[in-house]
Symmetry: none
Subunit: 269 residues, 2 copies
């Protein structure tokens, strides 16, 4: 809070970010009169606290001033909690929540019907039951392969998420895995072994879709509490057609999300 | 490269990591005689370079010395590929590889036998079959909870990895999940719902261990191609005691790793 000339308090946002090391400056860091403090020693391993001179430890600083309430909300940290959702939780809490919300997925239908982004389609299998469309994700600008990100949207419209999948969907899932890899190898020369291919649970929209990201890219949402490898999903369904109607699934929710409040009300948090 | 007294070159690995901000020190950062350089100004937004005093910009430093060829390989940047390892692959390729390597896990035994880091133990269940020791991971300096990282090391010594687990290990795994959460809540006031609790496959050493990281921390190795949530592992074993002796498992290997070459030789890449 900064005081303005009129004496009224005015909020400022200050964002501090440590920046990545610059390769050419690392040797300076080890050479200069840098204070080094031993913390722990065990066998061949030891750890130290190193205190670098100011010129080698720049902090990127962004100031928003004057900041409105909206700016403040955007940057306030929200607590995140893991939920362990059983099948009963899904039926009693999550599914009614999904059905009560009017998530618009018109943009998905626009792509499937070629009303939008038709020129962006990388691959299409038009089968209404086992087909899909592969498009670059909005997050990827297609300028470099390092952060390659594509999405496969299934043609059929009644499959909301991982929770709906049974062995019936195996042909569809295998098509996505196989044809998706082939299309990306052909168009972008990235081999299937360098692709992370997965579903989100919870997804951000309830029309079944599969993420394809570059393996070397630490894509948001690729961590274990949200991502499910398509190859694992296929194998689990082969093992047990009702696997995803039996198994508890973990996901993270922010404390201010409606679904989190629903789990709280049900005494499940 | 460090020169030993005998004049022979001996390699050392030095790992430098910038650590998260400590909340209580942020005001010092803004108060002290900190050099601030304006970079850009536009409307309500401006950016600066800030050069903090050494004591406010600690760098976590880890030294591995003397480092073997294997240690060096581990930290060099390399092309990475996903492997889909069937149970047959495990038996024919991975297991013989593990057995042929002499991975030293003396440092694990040192901890279990209280010969090292005894003062760092956060929790211990001494049962030789279903017990474990919980210690802060080397990667965590314990100064802030943002990057909280602990490791549970099991007391029994014959369980190499996820691949060895059957329903027989459920009591052990449940102890780790339950007591690990309780110990961390007690010592660090971080609730279980804000912990990501998982195993790695492949692990970096073949003595069963479980990772506990802060949910808000994008911990290395927490992505879907390496991490397996302990809660999922337990549920899979309840569903099928031989789940991990049946299911194919995905993991990433660098192109220069011996195990990758073994999979290549077997025509599995």
């Amino acid at each position: 809070q900064v005081t303005s000339p009129s004496g009224e308090g005015t909020d400022a946002i200050v964002i501090l970010e440590k920046t990545p090391f610059q390769e050419e400056k690392v040797s300076d860091l080890l050479k200069k009169h840098t204070k080094l403090e031993l913390q722990m020693h065990n066998d061949i391993y030891s750890t130290y606290h190193l205190y670098p001179p100011p010129e080698l430890s720049e902090i990127k600083t962004t100031v928003v001033y004057p900041a409105t309430e909206k700016h403040l909300q955007k940057y306030l940290r929200q607590e995140v909690h893991l939920i362990r959702e059983t099948w009963e939780d899904y039926k009693n809490i999550t599914l009614p929540f999904i059905q009560s919300q009017s998530f618009s997925i018109q943009w998905v239908y626009n792509i499937l019907e070629k009303k939008a982004e038709a020129d962006r389609i990388i691959h299409e299998n038009p089968d209404p039951c086992d087909g899909f469309v592969l498009v670059p994700d909005f997050k990827w600008n297609q300028n470099q392969l390092d952060d390659l990100y594509l999405i496969a949207l299934v043609q059929r419209r009644e499959v909301k998420s991982l929770r709906d999948l049974t062995a019936e969907h195996l042909p569809l899932l295998r098509n996505i895995l196989q044809e998706g890899k082939e299309a990306i190898a052909k168009r972008f020369s990235v081999p299937g072994s360098q692709l992370r291919i997965y579903l989100h649970y919870q997804p951000s929209y309830y029309h079944l879709h599969v993420h394809f990201t570059a393996l070397g890219y630490d894509a948001p949402g690729s961590s274990v509490e949200r991502a499910h490898l398509l190859a694992d999903v296929i194998d689990n369904l082969v093992l047990d057609s009702t696997y995803y109607q039996k198994r508890a699934l973990t996901f993270a929710l922010r404390a201010d999300e409606i679904l989190f409040k629903k789990f709280q009300e049900a005494g499940r948090v």
